[in-house]
Amino acid sequence: MKIDCTIDGKTLTLSLNSDKPLSLILRENMGDDGAVNHCNGEMCGLCTVLVDGKAMLSCLVPAFEIRGKTVVTFDSFRKTRNMKDIEKAYEAAGRFPCSECYASRSLIFESLIEEGITDEEEILKELSIVRCPCMDPEDAISIVRKGIEIRRKRNVRRTQLA
């Protein structure tokens, strides 16, 4: 099956099995085996990617569902201004995720910051998919809140300049 999609800013036409999980596409077809895990649907949370700006588990997304969609992995996301905001939030909170869950947590934080979610319960629920115990819940909440604040300030500055 031919699938047109945009992965990490590149517009691609891939010839794939229609039910191939996105996590395997990224590892085998895109060579992104460092940042994306393939847990065979065990929902480890370490295969998170952004599909049209929303965090998703790539092991649950079949190839036919990414037709015409934009997929962003941590590999390209880490070079963006949005990641800089999240790094600033990590510094402000004085906590960084461990190397194992850094990519997936950062992408989930991005999804939460973009949606402007400040509710403690919702933040913790969204992050509960990552089972790595390297971060306290309070730290995660403060990172999201700090991230929203930093993003808002940057957006205000940008509109003032425009």
Partner: protein, 299 residues
């Protein structure tokens, strides 16, 4: 790595009449809703079936609709659990909200759909049990004489003898209607993870109105993911014949009656499932006892 071995054909109908014509041509097709259950199986990829046909329901617009009036909420089967939470958190029955909340992260609820949660193949999620306890009705579309027919029916009518949801051949659930319940006792409890450890998990949904120490219209459904739903009107009527609070003897008798039924329906459930079921039953009875004592004190 496995490309070209057995790539299934994907059909994406835009409406139900297109679905009808596809299912007529490919009667052995598999239906694909959110895909969370299918993709989480260890042998999901590569597909073992050659020339498999998949009908993806995500493009059918009428199955994404949500409407409500003062009596009920009606969801299209492709409405995601996350959308249900965001549209109806304040008005929907508590048991359903608690059920969705146990799923956890929105990374999963954003993809899991109501219809898929009810009609998952060879697996029972916690949702049908909760919907049975809430007297939900579903619209089933099915093929008859080469035409797509529709029928509303209570979810209990779809339960087969083994406690699984059984749809007619080539049938699908298109809408789910959930009444706004005025029942003042609603519980949902789950022990274990249905997706990660289905052999040891159990969930139970209970709804009733507690009025002057008597339960009116009680309904209880216990779900074992690999076995099915344990629901019986006989158990409901045992509950309605009781006067709360129960003493220890009455509690033990009730528990053993329920267990006799559970064990006769599902003799293969694991010891952990039995212990967990007992724990959930105890907590439901304790809460009912507590409620009845509190209400009698208030009076």
């Amino acid at each position: 790595m496995y490309e070209g071995l057995s790539s299934p054909n994907i059909h994406t109908p835009a409406n139900l009449s297109e679905y009808a014509s596809i299912i007529l041509h490919y009667p052995a097709s598999s239906l694909w809703a959110g895909g969370t259950f299918i993709m989480s199986r260890p042998d999901a990829y590569p597909s073992h079936r050659m020339n498999a046909e998949i009908i993806y329901l995500g493009e059918i617009e009428e199955m994404h609709r949500f409407q409500r009036n003062d009596r009920f909420a009606e969801f299209g089967a492709m409405v995601t659990l996350d959308e249900i939470m965001s549209t109806g958190k304040t008005v929907l029955p508590r048991a359903l909200i608690e059920n969705i909340q146990t799923i956890g992260s929105r990374l999963i609820t954003r993809r899991a759909t109501l219809g898929g949660a009810i009609a998952a193949k060879d697996f029972t999620t916690s949702f049908p049990g909760t919907l049975i306890a809430l007297d939900a009705t579903v619209e089933v579309r099915f093929m008859k004489k080469k035409r797509l027919h529709s029928r509303w029916m209570p979810l209990t009518r779809l339960l087969d003898r083994s406690g699984r949801i059984a749809l007619p051949p080539q049938g699908l659930i298109s809408r789910v209607r959930i009444a706004f319940s005025d029942k003042n006792c609603q519980f949902f409890s789950q022990a274990g993870s249905f997706m990660l450890a289905p052999e040891d998990s159990v969930s139970a949904a209970f709804t009733a109105s507690l009025d002057q120490d008597i339960l009116i219209n009680p309904k209880i459904a216990i779900t074992y993911p690999l076995h099915g739903i344990c629901y019986s009107r006989d158990i409901d009527s045992i509950f309605s014949s009781l006067r709360f609070p129960l003493d220890d003897d009455e509690e033990n008798t009730l528990e053993s009656m329920i267990f006799t039924f559970v064990e006769s329906s599902f003799p293969d459930i694991s010891p952990l499932q039995k212990t967990r079921t007992r724990g959930i039953m105890r907590s439901i009875i304790d809460t009912l006892n507590e409620r009845s004592l509190t209400s009698s004190e208030e009076e």
